[in-house]
Symmetry: C2
Subunit: 195 residues, 2 copies
């Protein structure tokens, strides 16, 4: 069984984490023979209060989480204090050393930048944080118009809802486009913004 | 303060509830002067295990929830037992009598149909449940190709991700298109499905 882990932290933005959760959990639960499972993890485990007032339970703490094949770090207003949190930065660097595929949604990429993971690489973030991303590490090739940037062992997505598109892309990479289309159909993802 | 309430029940589909939560909570928290707040409620209150394995905390039980101006009922595999649950059907009928605007996402409309709320009215549901919807109440004008159906005091949306579009439409109705566009921009909802 290969494992995808979604990080939860206080004041993470709800859809940053739960958009990809829906896509990935729909996939792994509907197609168990693909051999993947998805889980949510947080530093302490247990309930995590998110940015807009929803509290979601992490399935694992960092300490008891299983080894991951894919890690997804969301963004949100809670990312700001983490950019100066050496314990979190060290944890991310440790994950980078052992997790084959590191991914982020929204301002999750700022944490990767602060940890040095994006040096010299193409990446994106929420549109309102692209200058912050460039400021954290001027060697980053900031892709301002990308929905997500796939750079091999690292994928960064744009703001909030972009995590849904990035998660579908993950299924394309890990299994194939047919499976991603099945999941898209399952969640009836035929977006039609009314404004 | 006017209140929007999102119902949580065991095995509700995650994005059915949390897609609209993101849209509505982003709106109400970013623009408090609009005079709206959004909350999650469940029969018992407290933690609710959802369909794909995520547990989310309801802010209120049905008993202690504030009066609502808008109610949103999501769908998911947990809707099936509720269709024969007289207590839930009675609760929905009671809400219909006092809540000005009743809305649903995905198979949430099946519960409304079972409770008799959709008699003679246009409505939709998840694509795979349209025949079930018609079977529950043959007087329903089933709209098979709609992303959502606004019938005045009742709005039903298609499957899972359609709740995001319906929630933006709610903002259009309650405040206006400019506000809905601001929220759309905030959550960077420029969907680009990769498959």
């Amino acid at each position: 069984m290969k494992r995808l882990g979604i990080v939860l932290f206080p004041d993470a933005e709800e859809l940053d984490a739960i958009g990809p959760w829906e896509v990935l959990a729909f996939w792994t639960r509907s197609y168990p023979d693909d051999g993947y499972a998805v889980t949510c993890l947080s530093r302490a485990g247990g309930p995590v209060p998110l940015a807009k007032g929803l509290t979601v339970q992490a399935h694992h703490s960092f300490a008891d989480a299983p080894p991951l094949d894919v890690l997804l770090y969301p963004g949100g207003q809670g990312i700001a204090p983490l950019l100066q949190d050496e314990r979190e930065l060290d944890w991310v660097r440790t994950q980078r050393a052992v997790v084959p595929l590191m991914t982020s949604v929204c301002t999750g990429s700022l944490l990767y930048a602060a940890a040095g993971l994006l040096a010299g690489r193409p990446a994106t973030s929420h549109w309102a944080s692209l200058d912050v991303l460039a400021g954290l590490d001027p060697s980053i090739d900031v892709r301002r118009d990308a929905r997500f940037v796939d750079d091999g062992d690292l994928i960064t997505a744009a703001g909030v809802s972009a995590g849904i598109d990035m998660a579908l892309h993950l299924i394309v990479r890990l299994v194939g486009a047919d499976r991603a289309r099945q999941v898209r159909r399952g969640i009836q993802y035929d977006p039609a913004p009314p404004v």
